[in-house]
Protein backbone atom coordinates (compact mmCIF):
# COMPACT_ATOMS: atom_id res chain seq x y z
CA UNK A 1 0.00 0.00 0.00
CA UNK A 2 1.39 3.37 -0.94
CA UNK A 3 1.69 6.12 1.63
CA UNK A 4 -0.41 9.26 1.30
CA UNK A 5 0.51 11.63 4.14
CA UNK A 6 -2.03 14.41 4.66
CA UNK A 7 -0.68 17.94 5.16
CA UNK A 8 -2.86 20.36 7.13
CA UNK A 9 -2.49 24.03 6.22
CA UNK A 10 -1.78 26.59 8.93
CA UNK A 11 -4.78 28.95 9.12
CA UNK A 12 -4.16 32.69 8.77
CA UNK A 13 -5.87 33.06 12.13
CA UNK A 14 -3.36 30.75 13.87
CA UNK A 15 -2.40 33.51 16.29
CA UNK A 16 -5.94 33.63 17.69
CA UNK A 17 -5.81 29.96 18.67
CA UNK A 18 -4.12 30.48 22.06
CA UNK A 19 -3.59 33.45 24.42
CA UNK A 20 0.20 32.96 24.21
CA UNK A 21 0.12 33.61 20.46
CA UNK A 22 -2.06 36.70 20.93
CA UNK A 23 0.41 38.01 23.53
CA UNK A 24 3.26 37.33 21.09
CA UNK A 25 1.52 39.21 18.27
CA UNK A 26 0.80 42.10 20.64
CA UNK A 27 4.52 42.26 21.44
CA UNK A 28 5.40 42.16 17.74
CA UNK A 29 2.96 44.95 16.87
CA UNK A 30 4.59 47.27 19.40
CA UNK A 31 7.39 47.67 16.86
CA UNK A 32 5.02 49.62 14.57
CA UNK A 33 4.35 52.21 17.27
CA UNK A 34 8.01 52.42 18.27
CA UNK A 35 8.80 52.95 14.57
CA UNK A 36 6.11 55.64 14.43
CA UNK A 37 7.66 57.46 17.40
CA UNK A 38 11.12 57.24 15.78
CA UNK A 39 9.61 58.82 12.62
CA UNK A 40 8.15 61.56 14.83
CA UNK A 41 11.62 62.28 16.26
CA UNK A 42 13.11 62.41 12.74
CA UNK A 43 10.41 64.89 11.66
CA UNK A 44 11.28 66.96 14.76
CA UNK A 45 14.97 67.01 13.75
CA UNK A 46 14.09 68.07 10.19
CA UNK A 47 11.83 70.87 11.51
CA UNK A 48 14.59 71.97 13.90
CA UNK A 49 17.03 72.24 10.97
CA UNK A 50 14.48 74.37 9.07
CA UNK A 51 14.64 77.16 11.64
CA UNK A 52 12.90 78.55 14.75
CA UNK A 53 9.46 79.01 13.15
CA UNK A 54 9.34 75.43 11.86
CA UNK A 55 10.53 74.12 15.26
CA UNK A 56 7.88 76.12 17.13
CA UNK A 57 5.25 74.72 14.75
CA UNK A 58 6.47 71.17 15.48
CA UNK A 59 6.35 71.79 19.23
CA UNK A 60 2.84 73.18 18.96
CA UNK A 61 1.68 70.13 16.97
CA UNK A 62 3.37 67.76 19.45
CA UNK A 63 1.71 69.58 22.39
CA UNK A 64 -1.78 69.55 20.85
CA UNK A 65 -4.34 67.03 22.10
CA UNK A 66 -3.89 64.63 19.13
CA UNK A 67 -0.08 64.97 19.43
CA UNK A 68 -0.11 64.14 23.15
CA UNK A 69 -2.54 61.25 22.57
CA UNK A 70 -0.25 59.80 19.87
CA UNK A 71 2.75 60.01 22.19
CA UNK A 72 0.82 58.39 25.06
CA UNK A 73 -0.20 55.52 22.81
CA UNK A 74 3.43 55.09 21.68
CA UNK A 75 4.56 55.21 25.33
CA UNK A 76 2.05 52.51 26.28
CA UNK A 77 3.27 50.19 23.50
CA UNK A 78 6.93 50.92 24.31
CA UNK A 79 6.27 50.12 27.98
CA UNK A 80 4.50 46.84 27.04
CA UNK A 81 7.43 45.92 24.79
CA UNK A 82 9.97 46.72 27.51
CA UNK A 83 8.13 44.86 30.28
CA UNK A 84 7.64 41.71 28.17
CA UNK A 85 11.23 41.89 26.96
CA UNK A 86 12.63 42.29 30.48
CA UNK A 87 10.59 39.25 31.52
CA UNK A 88 12.38 37.21 28.82
CA UNK A 89 15.93 38.38 29.58
CA UNK A 90 16.85 35.54 31.99
CA UNK A 91 16.39 33.13 29.08
CA UNK A 92 18.76 35.03 26.81
CA UNK A 93 21.45 35.71 29.40
CA UNK A 94 21.81 32.97 32.02
CA UNK A 95 24.43 34.21 34.49
CA UNK A 96 26.52 32.13 36.84
CA UNK A 97 28.04 33.67 39.96
CA UNK A 98 30.40 31.68 42.21
CA UNK A 99 29.16 28.38 40.79
CA UNK A 100 25.45 29.20 41.21
CA UNK A 101 22.87 30.33 38.67
CA UNK A 102 21.82 33.93 39.24
CA UNK A 103 18.03 33.84 39.87
CA UNK A 104 15.91 35.11 36.97
CA UNK A 105 14.28 37.70 39.24
CA UNK A 106 17.66 39.34 39.92
CA UNK A 107 18.41 39.63 36.18
CA UNK A 108 14.97 41.14 35.49
CA UNK A 109 15.33 43.45 38.52
CA UNK A 110 18.71 44.68 37.27
CA UNK A 111 17.10 45.64 33.95
CA UNK A 112 14.41 47.66 35.75
CA UNK A 113 17.10 49.35 37.87
CA UNK A 114 19.08 50.37 34.77
CA UNK A 115 15.85 51.51 33.08
CA UNK A 116 15.00 53.70 36.09
CA UNK A 117 18.54 55.12 36.28
CA UNK A 118 18.65 55.98 32.56
CA UNK A 119 15.16 57.53 32.74
CA UNK A 120 16.30 59.65 35.70
CA UNK A 121 19.37 60.88 33.80
CA UNK A 122 17.23 61.74 30.76
CA UNK A 123 14.69 63.60 32.92
CA UNK A 124 17.45 65.56 34.68
CA UNK A 125 19.15 66.35 31.35
CA UNK A 126 15.79 67.52 29.98
CA UNK A 127 15.44 69.82 33.00
CA UNK A 128 12.20 68.30 34.26
Amino acid sequence: MSRRPYVRKVERSWWLAHPRYVAYMAREITSLFIGLYCALLVVGLVRLAQGPAAWEGFLAAASSAPGVLLQLVCLAFAAYHSVTWFALTPKAMPLTLRGERVPGGAIVGAHYAVWAAVSLVVLIAAGV
Binding site: P5, Y6, R8, G99
Partner: protein, 247 residues
Amino acid sequence: MTETVTLEVLRYRPETDSEPHFQTYTAPYNEDWVVLDALNHVKDNVDQTLSYRWSCHMAVCGSCGMMINGEPKLSCHAFLRDYRGKTIRIEPLDHFPIERDLVVVMDSFMAKLSSVKPYLIPKPEKPLDDGEHLQTPLQLMAFKQYTQCINCLLCYAACPQCGLNDDFVGPAALALAHRYNLDSRDAGKDDRAGVVASNPGVWECTFVGACSDVCPKHVDPAAAIQQTKISASLDWFKAKLMPGANS
Protein backbone atom coordinates in the same frame (compact mmCIF):
# COMPACT_ATOMS: atom_id res chain seq x y z
CA MET B 1 -24.17 4.87 36.18
CA THR B 2 -20.46 4.72 35.57
CA GLU B 3 -18.94 8.08 34.63
CA THR B 4 -17.59 8.26 31.10
CA VAL B 5 -15.46 10.58 29.03
CA THR B 6 -16.12 11.61 25.44
CA LEU B 7 -13.18 11.61 23.03
CA GLU B 8 -13.28 13.32 19.63
CA VAL B 9 -10.44 11.77 17.72
CA LEU B 10 -9.17 12.97 14.35
CA ARG B 11 -9.12 9.98 12.01
CA TYR B 12 -7.29 9.70 8.71
CA ARG B 13 -6.97 6.42 6.89
CA PRO B 14 -5.19 7.13 3.61
CA GLU B 15 -6.62 4.07 1.85
CA THR B 16 -10.23 5.26 2.35
CA ASP B 17 -10.24 8.91 3.49
CA SER B 18 -9.59 11.88 1.22
CA GLU B 19 -9.17 14.10 4.27
CA PRO B 20 -9.20 13.75 8.07
CA HIS B 21 -12.48 13.77 10.03
CA PHE B 22 -13.43 13.51 13.68
CA GLN B 23 -14.82 10.32 15.19
CA THR B 24 -16.40 10.25 18.65
CA TYR B 25 -15.69 7.52 21.20
CA THR B 26 -16.76 7.00 24.78
CA ALA B 27 -14.41 5.58 27.42
CA PRO B 28 -14.78 5.00 31.16
CA TYR B 29 -13.65 7.85 33.42
CA ASN B 30 -11.01 6.97 35.96
CA GLU B 31 -9.48 9.45 38.38
CA ASP B 32 -5.97 8.13 37.73
CA TRP B 33 -6.30 7.57 33.96
CA VAL B 34 -4.51 9.66 31.41
CA VAL B 35 -5.70 10.31 27.84
CA LEU B 36 -3.46 7.48 26.63
CA ASP B 37 -5.34 5.03 28.91
CA ALA B 38 -8.64 6.14 27.37
CA LEU B 39 -7.20 5.67 23.85
CA ASN B 40 -5.90 2.24 24.83
CA HIS B 41 -9.39 1.38 26.11
CA VAL B 42 -10.86 2.38 22.74
CA LYS B 43 -8.20 0.44 20.83
CA ASP B 44 -8.67 -2.71 22.96
CA ASN B 45 -12.46 -2.66 23.28
CA VAL B 46 -14.13 -0.42 20.72
CA ASP B 47 -12.14 0.19 17.53
CA GLN B 48 -8.99 -1.74 16.73
CA THR B 49 -8.34 0.34 13.61
CA LEU B 50 -7.36 3.43 15.65
CA SER B 51 -3.63 4.17 15.20
CA TYR B 52 -1.34 6.14 17.51
CA ARG B 53 2.19 5.89 18.86
CA TRP B 54 3.08 5.14 22.44
CA SER B 55 5.56 3.13 24.42
CA CYS B 56 6.62 3.89 27.99
CA HIS B 57 3.50 5.48 29.53
CA MET B 58 5.75 7.54 31.85
CA ALA B 59 6.85 10.67 29.94
CA VAL B 60 10.25 9.25 29.08
CA CYS B 61 10.06 7.82 25.55
CA GLY B 62 8.51 10.87 23.87
CA SER B 63 6.31 8.78 21.54
CA CYS B 64 2.77 9.75 22.51
CA GLY B 65 2.70 13.49 21.72
CA MET B 66 -0.70 14.67 20.45
CA MET B 67 -2.79 17.82 20.32
CA ILE B 68 -5.18 17.56 23.25
CA ASN B 69 -7.83 20.28 23.16
CA GLY B 70 -5.49 22.28 20.92
CA GLU B 71 -2.45 22.03 23.19
CA PRO B 72 0.55 19.81 22.36
CA LYS B 73 0.84 17.27 25.19
CA LEU B 74 2.16 13.82 25.95
CA SER B 75 -1.03 11.78 26.16
CA CYS B 76 0.57 9.77 29.01
CA HIS B 77 0.97 13.02 30.92
CA ALA B 78 -2.54 14.45 30.39
CA PHE B 79 -4.89 13.30 33.16
CA LEU B 80 -8.59 12.82 32.39
CA ARG B 81 -9.37 14.57 35.69
CA ASP B 82 -8.00 17.80 34.25
CA TYR B 83 -10.66 17.63 31.49
CA ARG B 84 -13.54 16.39 33.67
CA GLY B 85 -16.92 17.35 32.27
CA LYS B 86 -15.43 18.40 28.93
CA THR B 87 -15.15 16.65 25.60
CA ILE B 88 -11.52 15.80 24.90
CA ARG B 89 -10.52 16.58 21.33
CA ILE B 90 -7.47 14.60 20.24
CA GLU B 91 -5.55 15.40 17.05
CA PRO B 92 -2.14 14.48 15.66
CA LEU B 93 0.67 16.94 16.43
CA ASP B 94 0.32 20.19 14.50
CA HIS B 95 2.86 21.12 11.80
CA PHE B 96 3.57 17.52 10.75
CA PRO B 97 1.99 15.57 7.89
CA ILE B 98 -0.47 12.93 9.10
CA GLU B 99 0.60 9.39 8.26
CA ARG B 100 -2.55 7.77 9.72
CA ASP B 101 -4.95 8.82 12.48
CA LEU B 102 -2.78 10.24 15.30
CA VAL B 103 0.52 9.12 13.76
CA VAL B 104 2.59 11.88 12.16
CA VAL B 105 5.43 11.76 9.65
CA MET B 106 8.57 12.87 11.49
CA ASP B 107 11.11 12.42 8.68
CA SER B 108 11.71 16.19 8.43
CA PHE B 109 12.58 16.35 12.12
CA MET B 110 14.98 13.40 11.89
CA ALA B 111 16.82 15.13 9.02
CA LYS B 112 16.99 18.42 10.95
CA LEU B 113 18.18 16.66 14.09
CA SER B 114 21.05 14.90 12.30
CA SER B 115 21.96 18.14 10.47
CA VAL B 116 23.06 19.80 13.74
CA LYS B 117 25.46 16.92 14.57
CA PRO B 118 23.96 16.16 17.99
CA TYR B 119 26.94 14.24 19.36
CA LEU B 120 30.30 15.04 20.96
CA ILE B 121 32.96 16.16 18.50
CA PRO B 122 36.17 16.23 20.57
CA LYS B 123 39.22 17.81 18.97
CA PRO B 124 41.72 16.27 19.04
CA GLU B 125 40.30 12.80 19.59
CA LYS B 126 41.56 11.58 22.95
CA PRO B 127 43.05 8.06 22.89
CA LEU B 128 41.26 5.58 25.19
CA ASP B 129 44.52 5.01 27.08
CA ASP B 130 44.46 8.62 28.24
CA GLY B 131 41.44 7.87 30.41
CA GLU B 132 38.01 9.43 30.72
CA HIS B 133 36.97 12.98 29.90
CA LEU B 134 36.66 14.65 33.29
CA GLN B 135 34.04 17.32 33.86
CA THR B 136 33.34 19.47 36.92
CA PRO B 137 29.79 19.88 38.30
CA LEU B 138 29.91 23.49 37.08
CA GLN B 139 30.78 22.38 33.54
CA LEU B 140 27.92 19.87 33.67
CA MET B 141 25.49 22.52 34.97
CA ALA B 142 26.17 24.64 31.86
CA PHE B 143 24.27 22.23 29.60
CA LYS B 144 22.50 19.61 31.75
CA GLN B 145 18.94 20.91 31.26
CA TYR B 146 19.34 20.59 27.49
CA THR B 147 20.18 16.89 27.83
CA GLN B 148 16.65 16.21 29.09
CA CYS B 149 15.06 16.43 25.63
CA ILE B 150 13.11 13.29 24.67
CA ASN B 151 12.44 14.35 21.05
CA CYS B 152 8.69 14.27 21.65
CA LEU B 153 8.13 17.08 19.08
CA LEU B 154 5.66 18.99 21.26
CA CYS B 155 7.83 22.08 20.73
CA TYR B 156 7.54 21.76 16.94
CA ALA B 157 3.76 21.51 17.23
CA ALA B 158 3.64 24.62 19.46
CA CYS B 159 5.98 26.75 17.35
CA PRO B 160 4.14 28.85 14.72
CA GLN B 161 7.39 29.33 12.85
CA CYS B 162 7.64 25.54 12.37
CA GLY B 163 4.13 25.58 10.88
CA LEU B 164 4.74 28.52 8.58
CA ASN B 165 8.27 27.70 7.48
CA ASP B 166 9.20 24.11 6.62
CA ASP B 167 12.91 24.92 6.55
CA PHE B 168 13.18 26.17 10.14
CA VAL B 169 15.48 23.75 12.00
CA GLY B 170 13.23 24.09 15.03
CA PRO B 171 13.43 24.16 18.82
CA ALA B 172 14.50 20.65 19.84
CA ALA B 173 17.29 20.29 17.26
CA LEU B 174 18.65 23.77 18.04
CA ALA B 175 18.48 23.11 21.79
CA LEU B 176 20.47 19.91 21.30
CA ALA B 177 23.05 21.74 19.18
CA HIS B 178 23.38 24.26 22.03
CA ARG B 179 23.72 21.38 24.51
CA TYR B 180 26.78 20.05 22.66
CA ASN B 181 28.22 23.51 21.98
CA LEU B 182 28.17 24.16 25.74
CA ASP B 183 29.79 20.84 26.62
CA SER B 184 33.40 21.26 27.81
CA ARG B 185 34.34 17.99 26.06
CA ASP B 186 33.10 19.21 22.68
CA ALA B 187 34.87 21.24 19.99
CA GLY B 188 32.30 20.92 17.19
CA LYS B 189 30.70 24.39 17.39
CA ASP B 190 32.18 25.50 14.05
CA ASP B 191 31.04 22.23 12.43
CA ARG B 192 27.45 22.95 13.56
CA ALA B 193 27.48 26.69 12.81
CA GLY B 194 26.70 26.22 9.10
CA VAL B 195 23.22 24.99 10.06
CA VAL B 196 22.73 26.46 13.53
CA ALA B 197 23.81 30.05 12.77
CA SER B 198 22.10 30.17 9.37
CA ASN B 199 18.75 31.80 8.54
CA PRO B 200 16.79 28.52 8.80
CA GLY B 201 18.72 27.94 12.02
CA VAL B 202 18.34 30.26 15.00
CA TRP B 203 17.52 33.36 12.93
CA GLU B 204 14.10 32.09 11.83
CA CYS B 205 13.12 31.99 15.52
CA THR B 206 11.11 35.08 16.49
CA PHE B 207 11.04 34.16 20.19
CA VAL B 208 7.38 33.26 20.53
CA GLY B 209 8.48 31.09 23.48
CA ALA B 210 5.70 28.52 23.01
CA CYS B 211 8.28 25.72 22.68
CA SER B 212 9.39 26.23 26.27
CA ASP B 213 5.80 26.56 27.54
CA VAL B 214 4.83 23.10 26.26
CA CYS B 215 8.09 21.22 26.91
CA PRO B 216 7.26 18.33 29.30
CA LYS B 217 10.91 18.05 30.39
CA HIS B 218 11.57 21.76 31.08
CA VAL B 219 14.36 21.87 28.52
CA ASP B 220 13.56 25.52 27.63
CA PRO B 221 14.53 25.44 23.92
CA ALA B 222 13.61 29.14 23.57
CA ALA B 223 16.42 29.99 26.00
CA ALA B 224 18.88 27.79 24.09
CA ILE B 225 18.01 29.51 20.82
CA GLN B 226 18.32 33.06 22.20
CA GLN B 227 21.69 32.19 23.75
CA THR B 228 22.80 30.72 20.43
CA LYS B 229 21.78 33.96 18.67
CA ILE B 230 24.04 35.96 21.01
CA SER B 231 26.90 33.49 20.59
CA ALA B 232 26.49 33.40 16.78
CA SER B 233 26.46 37.22 16.64
CA LEU B 234 29.68 37.41 18.67
CA ASP B 235 31.30 34.80 16.41
CA TRP B 236 30.23 36.81 13.35
CA PHE B 237 31.79 40.00 14.72
CA LYS B 238 34.96 38.13 15.70
CA ALA B 239 35.23 36.69 12.18
CA LYS B 240 34.80 40.19 10.69
CA LEU B 241 37.25 41.89 13.06
CA MET B 242 39.80 39.10 13.24
CA PRO B 243 39.67 37.11 10.00
CA GLY B 244 41.37 33.76 10.34
CA ALA B 245 41.12 33.65 14.15
CA ASN B 246 39.29 30.70 15.69
CA SER B 247 35.90 31.49 17.20
